[in-house]
């Protein structure tokens, strides 16, 4: 781990200014992913801005009936929030399917969205990785790909996004609120927050340098029955092979997002129109450009069957 200077931010605006002005600065909140990566020098900030003291840990209703979730709301607290459990249970379920209680006690809402891939080649500095070191190549392409993405990938990178929470956020049409160094704020649809790797897999989000996520905003509750179905090898504390976030209305229509199969939460609003009539068509639409290897081709069948299972869960929950 590289030596770094450290400060505790006292205001959001000041934090954003410092992040833009101090060379090599990074924000740290929960630290559960950043510190992990700093220990193996995949992240090597020269300066850390600890934002934990900022007033960004509230969950509040929005005027239009939605929910504004502060960036520093811990995963545990978000999952335990009565409003989330009542009105957005897919989010509570996704949160609880992720990581471990200890990690959820530290991990924050914004940090969860910004966590980096768990590709084992990314994590091994002795292996080629275009995400870690642009232009070095991708060892995973010729290697073990069972945990990797099958859609949205490129010849440069096949890493999957590891978050469960983000998949639920995506199905809920979440937006992130940010502040930039000049004090300006903006909202970014979650669909637009993460980039696909293309030729530049090291560029993972559309945030500007120093731009700080301050909140995630959920629109008014979508109603319907919520299911988050995560499929993994062991029963807990493991990353998804495939996950399905489903919000299903009584008429069978609804929304679907997939996790574990793409570099970002994977949803296709056009494809999901077929949910009531032909759920497999939804998966076929989502995975139409899938590029698989013998290691991970099973994810196509698994995604179909997991959606079937999620729909069955939703039906029986009514």
């Amino acid at each position: 781990m590289k030596a770094f200077t450290y400060e505790r931010a006292t205001s959001t605006a000041q934090a954003a200014v410092r992040a833009a002005s101090v060379p090599g600065a990074k924000f740290i909140a929960g630290g559960t992913n950043l510190l992990d990566l700093m220990k193996i020098e995949i992240e090597a900030p020269a300066h850390l801005i600890d934002v934990n003291g900022l007033d960004l840990a509230k969950i509040e209703p929005t005027p239009d009936g939605g929910l504004r979730i502060g960036a520093l709301v811990r995963n545990t607290d978000l999952a335990a929030d009565a409003g989330v459990r009542r009105d957005y249970p897919v989010l509570a379920r996704a949160l609880l399917a992720g990581a471990s209680p200890q990690l959820r006690n530290r991990a924050t809402t914004a940090g969860n969205l910004l966590q980096r891939t768990r590709c084992p080649y990314f994590y091994d500095p002795d292996q080629a990785c275009n995400k870690r070191e642009p232009g070095s190549g991708c060892a995973a392409l010729a290697g073990w790909r069972r945990m990797h993405a099958i859609v949205g990938t490129s010849d440069a990178c096949i890493a999957a996004h590891p978050s469960d929470m983000a998949v639920a956020m995506r199905v809920l049409d979440a937006e992130v609120e940010t502040m930039r160094a000049d004090g300006s704020t903006r909202r970014i649809a979650l669909a637009d927050l993460h980039r696909l790797p293309g030729a530049t897999p090291h560029l993972e989000t559309t945030l500007d340098a120093g731009e700080l996520i301050t909140a995630v905003v959920l629109p008014s509750p979508p109603g319907g029955t919520h299911v988050y179905r995560k499929v993994r090898d062991r029963a807990s504390y493991a990353f998804a092979l495939v996950s399905v976030a489903l919000v299903r209305q009584p008429d069978g229509s609804g929304r679907v997002a997939l996790g574990g199969i793409a570099p970002k939460p994977w949803r296709d609003e056009d494809a999901e129109r077929a949910l009531a009539s032909d759920p497999h068509a939804v998966v076929d639409g989502l995975l139409k450009d899938a590029r698989t290897s013998p290691d991970n081709a099973f994810k196509i069948t698994l995604a179909r069957r997991t959606l079937d299972a999620a729909i069955a869960d939703a039906r029986s929950a009514r």
């Binding site: 768990r118 084992p120 500095p125 060892a139 993994r232 069957r305 079937d308 069955a312």
Partner: protein, 736 residues
């Protein structure tokens, strides 16, 4: 003391302390965090410097050059050890690859440097500043591809044959010929390999996490080129081993070298992501099994062939061994072949040989029973043997496999099993029952101890035996208490120090029986000394803190009133293990649920019935078995060191990628010990149990998955991707 005739009645048979489920005597230390492990001896080592290991970034080849300049200049750096500057190093007898690589690199993450600095943070930073120019060469990493080039291993018994397997198999009306694979697996113990070393003049004082103190002393001495007498090695607490800490590893050698270079005590722990490729692992196997039987279900021919790989000079995984002994059959053969693979060193992991061997054999037996239309419990019972099938004149010392199966079937409710696979459903779950036999040989090993009777009447046992979680502290205390007739709290046990008499160490499930037998020998001597001191006959009775003979009744402590009494002895063994086949037996019963949609398997309940001689402490023995069953669940469902066949290393080299079971994977586990003593094994009449518990578990689960789904998977682990295309259609698919 020599054990060369079957045990008769002896002081242990009193069972006043031995055989009782007493709490571990080291429990208060472990539960309060005050048991000190190898990296934690702040009390004895005031200002240690920190060593950080750099592992090789290629699988095979050589180091052209190492540029240490930036690392040397990094803040706080005290010393850097490389093969270039370490001076001549030997190789331990128990090591296959050298522990400090360079210029030759034998495997990925082989240690190539140690950076010693004032702090851990500084050492970690500086280690990554070392620039290495490698000359990589092509290696062989894929067992399946190397199989054809595999040769007869130099050690062990690569080939066995009895009768005429070929003709008998060809003539058998019912045949099975199937090939199974087991993957590379990692011990993944919770405490990383760690050592703290300092030099006291020319004597190396080292705390290291090691199962075998005397082996450790010998190999540290040999590697460093110093006399064994100049190594003081201590290993009082070990955070798990499972065979991965049988041998001296890089942390110990590099801590010693680092301490010499820095002229400071140095401590080194292997970073977790380095452990999987740096240390040893259970090697992958390919196993072909052929069984021929009569239509009535009598095995007439059985063959087991296994292929595994290791570095040059390595050894095979002896996966065929149990097949020589487990089932009857007049015509039999086994063969082992060893390929050269340039992966990290293959070596022992919990029940080496039997664990992967039973993973294959016990699926094969299940498949054969299915072909025959015979219940798999009954098929196993029908093919039991009470003698060594290769040497029918040689009986088993005790063999209650049939009891294990029958009692287990009764307790588990086996008769409720639907005879038809894929026939039982509970909501979203496909339900299956599975069974497998458990089998592991019993090994006995010379073991010594020293016992002191203090003026205060406290009995102190000293032996270099280790407690890797097995309960050694406790069963040794029970043994000494029983022998000396004192209550448990009047016994102090000191372990894991090379100043103490050499013991069996912990491995191969020999430790419990062998080390307590050594304590038995020393206590026998101490009893004689006490009796002599008190003027009592040698057959005096020791109980309740008293020594009694005839009308005399004296406090045992009186014997030490004028000074401590000390006795030292060891137990060594005659040929009872040659005249009698000594093995341990069991049966595993499992109910699994497989998600009908996704193929996820969850274990619902498990039962193990074990016949393993006298159970010295049912509480700690049960823990050994449930721990082994848990590891068996991992072997069945998730554990798989994945080989990158291009770059030549285990890809999933951390605890996120290598999935061992977590709490949510493990239900309440049931264990039954049959009431048994084995007078052929030792005066303790005990045998091993810690490895028996894993043998067969994975197969029982694989068989249960087959029973639940109708899908037979012969390649471990049985992950959902191997099931998903063959699962029954879902209800809504059937509708449409």
């Amino acid at each position: 003391m020599k054990f060369d005739t079957p045990a008769t009645k002896n002081p242990i048979d009193r069972l006043a302390v031995v055989g009782h489920p007493v709490d571990r005597i080291d429990g208060p230390l472990k539960t309060t965090g005050t048991a000190r492990y190898a990296y934690e001896h702040h009390d004895a080592v005031a200002r240690p410097a920190y060593g950080y290991v750099l592992g090789a970034g290629i699988a095979k080849g050589s180091i052209h050059s190492m540029d240490l300049a930036a690392a040397k200049a990094a803040p706080g750096v005290l010393a850097i050890v490389t093969a270039d500057n370490a001076g001549p190093l030997g190789k331990g007898d128990k090591n296959t690859a050298t522990l400090l690589g360079g210029p030759t690199i034998e495997h990925y993450h082989q240690a190539i440097a140690l950076v010693v600095a004032e702090t851990f943070e500084q050492a970690r930073w500086a280690a990554r500043r070392i620039r290495v120019d490698y000359g990589p060469v092509d290696g062989t990493f894929d067992l399946a591809r190397a199989k054809e080039s595999a040769s007869k291993p130099a050690s062990g018994k690569p080939d066995t044959a009895v009768g005429d397997f070929g003709n008998a198999f060809a003539a058998a009306p019912v045949q099975l010929d199937a090939t199974y694979t087991t993957p590379d697996q990692s011990h993944a113990m919770m405490e990383p390999h760690a050592s703290t070393a300092l030099w006291d003049g020319d004597t190396l004082v080292i705390w290291t996490s090691n199962q075998m103190v005397a082996w450790g002393v010998a190999d540290v001495a040999k590697t460093l080129g110093i006399p064994k007498e100049k190594v003081h090695l201590m290993s009082p607490f070990i955070g798990g081993g499972f065979g991965g800490k049988l041998f001296v590893r890089a942390d110990a050698v590099l801590a010693a070298l680092g301490a010499r270079a820095a002229k400071r005590p140095v401590k080194v722990a292997l970073p977790r992501p380095l452990m999987f490729n740096n240390t040893t692992h259970r090697p992958a196997t390919i196993q072909r099994i052929r069984i021929g039987a009569t239509r009535e279900g009598r095995i007439t021919a059985i063959a087991h062939e296994s292929w595994s790989g290791d570095l040059p000079g390595g050894k095979p995984e002896t996966a065929v061994d149990q097949t020589r002994l487990l089932y009857a059959g007049a015509n039999r053969m086994t063969a082992m072949r060893l390929a050269v693979l340039d992966l990290a060193e293959a070596n022992a992991m919990r029940a080496p040989g039997e664990a992967p061997g039973m993973m294959a054999l016990e699926i094969a037996i299940d498949e054969m029973a299915e072909k025959l239309g015979i219940d798999p419990v009954q098929f196993r019972i029908a093919n039991d043997t009470q003698v060594d099938p290769e040497h029918p004149e040689r009986p088993f010392s005790k063999r209650r496999l049939v009891d294990c199966l029958a009692i287990g079937a009764e307790k588990f409710g086996w008769k409720a099993r639907n005879p038809h696979p894929a026939g039982t459903r509970d909501g979203r779950w496909l339900v299956g029952f599975g069974v497998a036999a458990a089998f592991r040989n019993n090994l006995v090993t010379r073991s010594g101890a020293r016992v002191r009777l203090g003026k205060d009447g406290v009995v102190t046992v000293e032996t270099d035996m280790t407690d890797i979680g097995t309960g050694s502290y406790t069963i040794i205390a029970q043994t000494a208490a029983e022998m000396m007739g004192v209550p448990l709290h009047r016994v102090v046990v000191r372990l894991g120090d090379s100043d103490y008499p050499v013991s069996s160490g912990s491995g191969g499930q020999w430790g419990g029986n062998s080390s307590t037998a050594g304590v038995y020998a020393a206590c026998t001597k101490l009893r004689e000394a006490v009796a002599t001191k008190l003027g009592l006959p040698p057959d005096a009775d020791f109980a309740d803190g008293r020594v009694r003979a005839g009308s005399r009744d004296v406090a045992v402590a009186d014997a030490a009133r004028n000074g401590e009494l000390v006795a030292e002895d060891h137990m060594e063994y005659g040929d009872l293990d040659k005249r009698y086949q000594q093995s341990t037996f069991g049966a595993h019963f499992v109910e699994v649920r497989v998600d009908a949609a996704t193929g996820e398997t969850r274990v619902k309940r498990m039962l193990a019935v074990c016949a393993a001689g006298r159970i010295l402490n049912p509480k700690t023995a049960r823990s050994q078995v449930i721990g082994a069953m848990t590891m068996g669940v991992g072997a069945a469902l998730s554990e798989h060191l994945v080989v990158d066949r291009y770059a030549g290393f285990f890809v999933n080299h951390d605890l996120a990628g290598y999935e061992v079971p977590v709490h949510a994977d493990i239900p309440h586990l049931d264990v039954v010990f049959l009431d048994e003593t084995d007078p052929m094994s030792s005066p303790m009449k005990a045998k091993g149990v810690a490895e028996l518990g894993i043998c067969g578990v994975a197969a029982a689960i694989a068989n249960a998955i087959h029973h639940a789904t109708g899908v037979r998977v012969r390649d471990y682990p049985v992950t959902l991707d191997k099931l998903i295309d063959r699962l029954p259609l879902l209800a809504r698919e059937e509708e449409s």
